[in-house]
Symmetry: C3
């Protein structure tokens, strides 16, 4: 196909400068003013899944599909839902997929993304980062793939160059308990790199003896810390040591994903007993014991945060790997983690009773069940000094849901007890588009308060600045 | 009372051409353009409760109240809530009610319907179908009743004439397991009738041994199929045969209403055991056994759909007959079926693990609990190829709720994995008004995406076409 | 600091006449028209926590902090969430706090209230009632405190003068089972006072044998009634007598707050057995027995309402005193009562089966879990003549949530089956500002229906009148 034919058939790709702003002209003008005040502010990304080694090593990205499609479960799941099997999307390591084929699938299903927030921010990304001017289509798929592949071989598209282009000031990664954080150390020691890339300590695997990798992670955590984890006291000591190691490498926060937010502590004798029994093998503990152990660990985790000052992020309520055949064949993170019913007020009561007013303790609560914002997270953040209402995340980090979140949480807790935007992404090149989306959605929300005279325009501009800068800095102790 | 006095006191009935469109002039213009593109498209009604015999026999409707009030639980429940006892609304067969009296109740309570979606679409229906130009009132009740009664005796108001007037292309009915589908057969064989009236196989009664009519329906299903249902294998064979019979009569779908969406299969031995025990009488099985049997049946139902291709509709979560005294006196479907807490992700896991990616399997999920759209139905439809997000239904088939549904579901699943509008109605004459409402509400939603530059106007018009035509055709295999 | 410096640094306090109205000019004009029709209507406050003695005795308020900050848990909790310990907010009676210090905390944290509904109505209150023209700030705190303190010593700021200034027509208080209602009697007998101040019978403490004060309240209720409450029949007789006493003092309603809405009745023998066992001491009954007793009491409470005509208000679903250390140190009502998951349809079934269609029975359902409006409260109010959908309350009595409530409940139940606004406040001076907020929010909602042609402007104005006058009068039998 020739470029001419593509040019004539494909729709233009032209994100509008006023996108996401309210329709009413007066409100739109205010939203534009509020947005413009923060449009170019540096990006603070306190929660994400980019690999630090990617930036430390600064190697070129392999190909457009491996960069833009295969690692992004937002895009992958919509393609799968619309009939593209995962084995045609590069998710089987044993049968390498042609990136060009993957891109053709995306391009020919572009219409299925109509109206979704994924298409919204992917358009911005393709336009702003990669200079595309036509929407993907079956006709232009090969042409656009070649264009992208050429770009990715140029110096301006290496990870560090993009870090600067994107205007990232702080980027937090997510790291395992036994991580050596060597890439973080290299970046910190590198005089040619001025950004902050911070590790985040994520130790879920250690919390849950029912997980198949629990014994392995308990052992490797101990090895990393040089502390014997055969006892529960040993494990706690090893975790404390590892947290200290993370702090020395710049970490300001931990992250924890659990099925539920239960936080009832156990006696020392009881947690030692379950710990030892679990070490003897998967059949060593009952499901109830494993759950009790996990709930106790969440409590200990908060206790450690009170001691060492690491911000505690908590995102319970995700059912992992809903579709067993897909897990068996393609592994985890393949689009079938699904939201569970959210619950915080009851399960967090033991933890909050003991630490909810502890000086300096910050607990950021995330959910994928929107009903919890108005009923639980807002009211908790509106009383407990320690609690912060985390931004909407994953299934609900969308323009519409961000508006619903603001309306629900601001009512109970204002702006100061929120987290600022969280991109939570593996898709490096989507970071600026997604922060831009959040800034626009917040500008739209603030404009709605101004135009109904609940806020002055000056207050709205000031609040927008706080949301992209002061609030994440304060909440995450950056 | 004289006609003159009525004319002066009654409010005009004049549905506005721009109703339901956004207030902002730019957005309203877009909504109008989008709506006009589909306003006159044929009606596809893939889920409803009109009796096929009504159309096959084409007998005149008896009287205005029996047509417009008594069978419509939307209207009946609001009258009851505002103080009109059901025995004055024609719901007791032993004491025949004067239709004129029923209409007077409606007219004198017209004000209690202010602001409700029921009043909204009933106004359109009275205006467009019956030519009323004044709102119902105590003063004009008799006059309007006479006008309606006269119309119903005219040839243009016979069911088949209205079928054409309404522009219905496909109308699906809901039919019992032992239905002979004679009316459907007559319509299909009738060269003078060009519409499609399709049966839908609804076999809930067979699923639940705790129901008082279970043994009766199991037997009648067997008789209809000519297969002995004394064993569970026999029942499954009879159901398969009946499904085939429905397919031969044009069915493309089944429909199932259950209290919860549990779908855990049983072993063959266990389901046979419960089946036989249940056949011995109501006391033969425990509540837990009846529930286990019902969950297994839901699993088998999906299995059969994978085999024979019938689309599986599922609408769990309705507590039937909440008010026992009303049930005892007036029977079921008298306005006190109420929404339960929705749940899909957990209970459907067994079914989806085995059939969620089966080629050609379509599972349309409906709910009356809105919280489920963003948390469960959208995310499920956004991963599983088999799952479609059913339109808001019953308590939430309203302009406001349709907007909330679109915002919640489009975020996770776009438009292609939705069902299109479902009128689910017994009230034949409300069909065009209610599809019109849905087209307007969707136009308003699409306009909101256009005016915030998330969609182009061309894409919005194209999407509106898909919603009223391509999407229901594809989802329901029409 | 001089007044000049304050004038230059503080932001102006100038509530806009169009606040809360929609941005679109056409919709705003309609909202303004609707609002102006009811802006000056008398205030009917059928549910609140002002002390009748305050008005009967008409003593001056002590100081600005004790009047405006310390008793208002809306304000207190946001200050606490943003780092001000409760002991600096006047909540420890043993260490009297300087009101001026409390006010300084509020003023210097004014920015943390940005965008919250609390700031919204507090601004109106400070402006309209107290004539402030600058927003509170650290700089003007002492000046404003002095201004307020001076005002509070003037005759126009005594409780009775404010009652007239506020335009209150009816004010319902909340009173204990053993209340002598002397202040109510004095007010009723006072020819110089023309307002209605009505008691409301709140007997939660009697319902729950698990409460530490249960035995005490059972005894005091008996003493107040002159009936021995050693038996459950005795307690029921005493409660009936007390209800009659309340009726004689003008009460038209009871109020009940319980953890859940369970309403299953017990046999006479069983409730007598639990009653006697509970009287023997806290260890006399199990948690399950206490719950069963409480559920039975809710059922009896409805039965009594059917008999004596008192409107039954029910607001379940609040977890009281979530943070034990705060309860221990500062007592109840200190900002950490939190919303629980709402549930009505299932738990109220026994009560509604027996009384849901009883003539004259009014049951007003309140929730702090918004998800219940569309799923449960709206549908219940849309069938049962007895059920009324209570206005959003406590955590959700905000402009945004009122809009969501109207959209959810009007769909199922229209306007006639709702309660009208409930201020539920201890903060006497916030009453006019909060009713004004509700009138504006309802005007905005009604305008949204008019501008989308679901309602005429005449109907909207008429409905606004009904909402502030006819509807609360009818619902609460005023």
């Amino acid at each position: 196909m020739t470029q001419t034919s593509t040019t004539t058939t494909a729709a233009p790709l032209a994100p509008h400068p006023d996108r996401l702003f309210p329709a009413d002209p007066a409100a739109r003008d205010i939203a534009r003013t509020v947005y413009e005040a923060v449009a170019d502010a540096p990006i603070i990304s306190p929660h994400g899944h980019v690999d630090a080694a990617l930036i430390a090593d600064d190697v070129p990205f392999p190909d457009p599909a491996t960069l833009l499609v295969t690692p992004d479960h937002y895009i992958l799941r919509l393609l799968h839902a619309n009939g593209v099997p995962l084995d045609q999307l590069g998710r089987v390591s044993t049968t390498p997929t042609d990136g060009r084929e993957v891109w053709r699938h995306l391009a020919s299903h572009w219409d299925d993304f109509l109206g979704t927030p994924v298409r919204y921010w992917f358009e911005t990304e393709l336009h702003d980062v990669f200079g595309l001017r036509s929407a993907p289509s079956a006709e232009n798929a090969d042409e656009q793939y070649d264009h992208l592949a050429t770009l990715l071989r140029s110096p301006g598209f290496r990870p560090r160059a993009l870090f600067d282009t994107f205007g990232i000031e702080v980027l937090a990664t997510t790291d395992a308990p036994d991580a050596d954080l060597a890439a973080h150390a290299r970046l910190a020691a590198d005089p040619t790199f001025s950004g902050r890339v911070l590790p985040t300590f994520r130790a879920d695997a250690v919390f849950d003896p029912a997980r198949s990798d629990w014994r392995h992670v308990v052992a490797s955590t101990g090895e990393a810390a040089g502390i014997d984890t055969a006892t529960h006291d040993g494990l706690l000591a090893a975790l404390r040591a590892r947290r200290q190691y993370f702090i020395e490498h710049g970490a300001t926060a931990t992250d924890t994903g659990v099925l539920d937010a239960g936080s009832t502590p156990l006696s020392a004798a009881e947690r030692e007993r379950i710990h030892r029994a679990a070490l003897e093998g998967p059949s060593g503990v009952t499901a109830a014991e494993a759950t009790a152990y996990r709930h106790d660990m969440l409590y200990r985790w908060a206790e450690m945060s009170v001691d060492d000052g690491l911000v505690m992020q908590l995102h319970p309520g995700v059912l992992r790997n809903h579709h067993q055949p897909t897990l068996d064949r393609f592994g985890p993170d393949t689009g079938h983690d699904l939201p569970a019913v959210g619950s915080f007020t009851e399960p967090l009561r033991p933890l909050l009773n003991d630490f909810g007013t502890a000086p300096g303790f910050h607990l950021v609560l995330f959910t994928v069940d929107e009903t919890v914002f108005s009923r639980e997270i807002g009211p908790l953040a509106g009383f407990y000094p320690a609690v912060y209402a985390g931004a909407p995340w994953w299934f609900i980090d969308t323009p519409a849901a961000i508006g619903r979140y603001r309306a629900a949480v601001t009512d109970s807790a204002g702006f100061t007890k929120t987290s600022g935007f969280i991109d939570d992404t593996r898709a490096y090149c989507s970071i600026p588009a997604r922060h831009d989306m959040a800034r626009r959605a917040d500008a739209a929300y603030l404009a709605s308060l101004v135009v109904t005279h609940q806020l002055t325009e000056e207050d709205a501009v000031r609040t927008a600045h706080r949301i992209v800068s002061d609030i994440p800095r304060a909440t995450f102790k950056l």
